[in-house]
């Protein structure tokens, strides 16, 4: 009798695991429960869909349910919400159209993902308040943008004068949160003619990046007429049925809609109810093979924590590549070849209008010190191409290393879009993964030609300067 691998959640981690397990062991029965209708979709593409650069929501789907079923021979059950796991009986209980479905498993993957978190304030349930976590969120936001651009639903006579009464009749709107989603949505909305107010609780956007990166992105956002409200204490979203203003400690800013980009939290209820341990981050704890404390039950993707390559400590970084990588590793493991899938470096990238930025590793000195390092940081700005080459801009690199050992700890890069801050960060990620020092990095034989960099790539310039300051 064949073994059965059951997956709860049909997005990046879940479908990667299902596909890999079935490919490596075609005899395995692979059953995936997904509560919604969409599987294997690129949530990272939603801002571009809302912006209007991507025309169909379907194009965000990398593999369709039919392909999973017909071509990959995976028993994919959409519209099935798993409501219980019984580790003793090795069964999951799902609900589908009001019916209960019981499915036994030999191996189980919990890939329940994360959900958008609304801040603990009044008014987040008003009409006109959105989050961007799911395909249906994306659909609603796109519809909102379309309506607003058609001049509908904005004619609310009792509001004060604002740009929404001007010719283009779009805006003002609010984005709460200056992280990836907030900034990408600020771009998406501004590109559609909205006056965008971006509220950030802290003193800078993209707080995981370096100060210098944040500052450059913030300046660029202001250049593009995004109104930045930094150190903004958003107290309430006000309105009768529909939101009509954002209230901060000092101010009331009239808006037509609010996008909450205030982070996510792992969906762990199902796991907790089944006796699966959470880690110190609040996400599901696993070993290096993504196995939880419950034998044969794995967790991967945005619901699970992972180990940071620099600190060696558990961390919660819910991003797409990790979900894919760890899901795939679980698939291999379940198919008979135990596979770790690697740690995370906390790498992230963003495009904001016409700038691009990436960060990786540990930049925060407090975090570095807690992990036993003595962090030193340097920031350089260098040309993105040979000085004489008739194109290009600049790349600003912030780099952190340990004073004693020279070990590289992290970096944050920003450049004009197309000038390579993101791809150049790959060298730093690789160095971090290998536990390299900044003395190693400064000697890397990176590719050089005038259309791509100065003889010393900006990453090498940063390494040289940082190396010089800690020797």
């Amino acid at each position: 009798m064949n073994e059965t691998f059951v997956v709860v959640g049909g997005d990046a981690a879940g479908m990667s695991a299902a596909s890999k397990a079935k490919r490596d062991d075609p005899d395995l029965e692979v059953v995936v429960f997904e509560k919604g209708e969409w599987v294997s979709y690129g949530a990272c593409g939603l801002p571009y869909y809302v912006k209007g650069e991507i025309q169909s929501l379907e194009s965000l789907v990398s593999v369709t349910p039919e392909e999973f079923r017909d071509e990959r021979d995976i028993d994919l059950r959409t519209g099935h919400e798993v409501v219980g796991i019984d580790p003793d009986r090795r069964e999951v209980l799902a609900e589908h159209d009001g019916d209960d479905v019981i499915q036994s498993y030999d191996h189980l993957l919990v890939a329940t993902g994360a959900q958008a978190v609304a801040p603990p304030i009044e008014g987040t349930d008003l009409a006109g308040v959105y989050t961007l976590g799911s395909m249906s969120d994306g659909k609603e936001l796109r519809e909102y943008v379309a309506r607003a651009r058609d001049g509908e639903s904005l004619q609310q006579p009792d509001r004060g004068p604002a740009c929404r009464y001007l010719e283009d009749c779009t805006g003002p709107v609010a984005v709460v949160g200056g992280g990836y989603v907030g900034i990408e949505m600020a771009e998406a909305l501004a590109a559609n003619g909205f006056e965008v107010n971006l509220f950030q609780r802290g003193e800078r956007v993209l707080k995981g990046f370096s100060d210098e990166t944040s500052e450059e992105v913030a300046e660029h956002l202001r250049d593009r007429d995004v109104v930045l409200h930094l150190e903004a204490d958003v107290r309430e979203l006000s309105g009768a049925d529909e939101v009509d203003a954002v209230l901060t400690a000092e101010d009331s800013i009239p808006v037509d809609m609010v996008l909450l980009g205030t982070g996510v939290r792992p969906r762990t209820d199902l796991a907790e109810d089944a006796g699966i341990d959470l880690g110190s981050t609040g996400a599901i704890a696993t070993d290096a093979y993504r196995e939880t404390n419950v034998p044969d039950v794995y967790a991967a993707g945005d619901c699970a924590e992972a180990v940071h390559v620099v600190t060696g400590e558990p961390t919660y970084v819910p991003l797409a590549l990790t979900a894919n990588r760890h899901g795939r590793a679980v698939g291999q493991t379940v198919a008979g070849r135990p596979t770790e899938g690697g740690d995370v470096a906390g790498t992230a990238a963003i495009k904001a209008f016409d700038v691009e930025a990436a960060r990786t590793g540990v930049l925060d000195h407090e975090v570095a010190r807690d992990a036993g390092f003595d962090p030193v940081t340097e920031t350089i700005t260098a040309k993105s191409r040979a000085g004489y080459y008739p194109a290009g801009g600049s790349v600003t690199v912030t780099m952190t290393a340990d004073r004693g050992s020279g070990r590289l700890l992290g970096a944050s890069l920003v450049s004009e879009y197309g000038e390579g801050a993101v791809h150049r960060s790959h060298a730093v990620v690789a160095a971090l993964e290998e536990g390299a020092t900044v003395f190693d990095l400064e000697n890397y034989d990176l590719a050089y030609a005038p259309p791509f960099n100065t003889t010393w790539d900006p990453v090498l310039v940063a390494a040289k300067v940082l190396s010089g300051s800690i020797r």
Copy 2:
């Protein structure tokens, strides 16, 4: 009494060493002899100058002689040709305006660079035959292009019909050699309206890259109307005083000019005469600190060999970054802090019209086997950005690893210009430098966002496929 550091050759390695030594030890007397008038220039930029994208030859100079003298306090003597080194007396003999100059040294750096090599055939001394190694070469070529575009010097009535008699009156021309210089010059000349014939002795251009990269670049050259003559056995350049045809074993191709891009060789005469050993590559042998067999005499840059990070063997890769890096290391060493400056990975990058390519490490299976590896190679083509993202192209990655250990040996990447083949290669270089395996590489937490890559960057896709094929 202060020590004296003498440098022979005022380009990348020499001036990097001089500048670093003086900065680290301001008490050091630093004397640089340069036989020409130009120092510290970006020879890599010459094709763009000939093309006309760079307007002034001076802009290729990163630091002027005056800046070296006045701001960096370096005794820079241009127009001084060093004709002898006497290690016993610790002196160099230079000639300047017919006078002899004797200079004693405590530390000496030989940074005599490389020179373009003409193939051993008849006619390479004809007028109209050029190489591109020096600033004056660049100047002459630019002047040739300008004359040709003005319709001058092409009216030679006894030639047969060819495109040079057509309206634009430029071409045909020949480029002999399908390496970096040959291809960059093919672009420079084609952009100026010349009909370019590119002759390559082997069966593919860019022989240091993978077959797939070569093929993609070759196809692109053909798309841009470069006439590729592969496996071309160029026997002679014919003409009375001026070159008028390229003769191959089979054919005679009429041309107005010939650019020889047939490689370089290290300038080692001076070193050899002084009893400095050459290595197996024919370039000057050094230890890890770039010190030669003669105490306190260093060699760096295009005249010296270096150790390959993958094979651990000496190799000769005369490129700008190594020259800068090793020059700088010698400067630090001489100033009192012994510094190695690192090995080389044989990394190179090129832009050819609208494609970009990079290579690093060992791709040739014979070379890999000689170094004790059992090489396996895979090639993948992947999208350069998220499939749904409204821009982008593809990246083709060839990757080689050792079957037994999984150790990464090399990679070759090609993409449309701007789609990141070159910057994406940085991850591979870093992995090579650290002796990583392809199993390590496939788990790297590289930056991802839809405008920059698919969730798995093409480099990771290649690593996954290669890893799968050798497990």
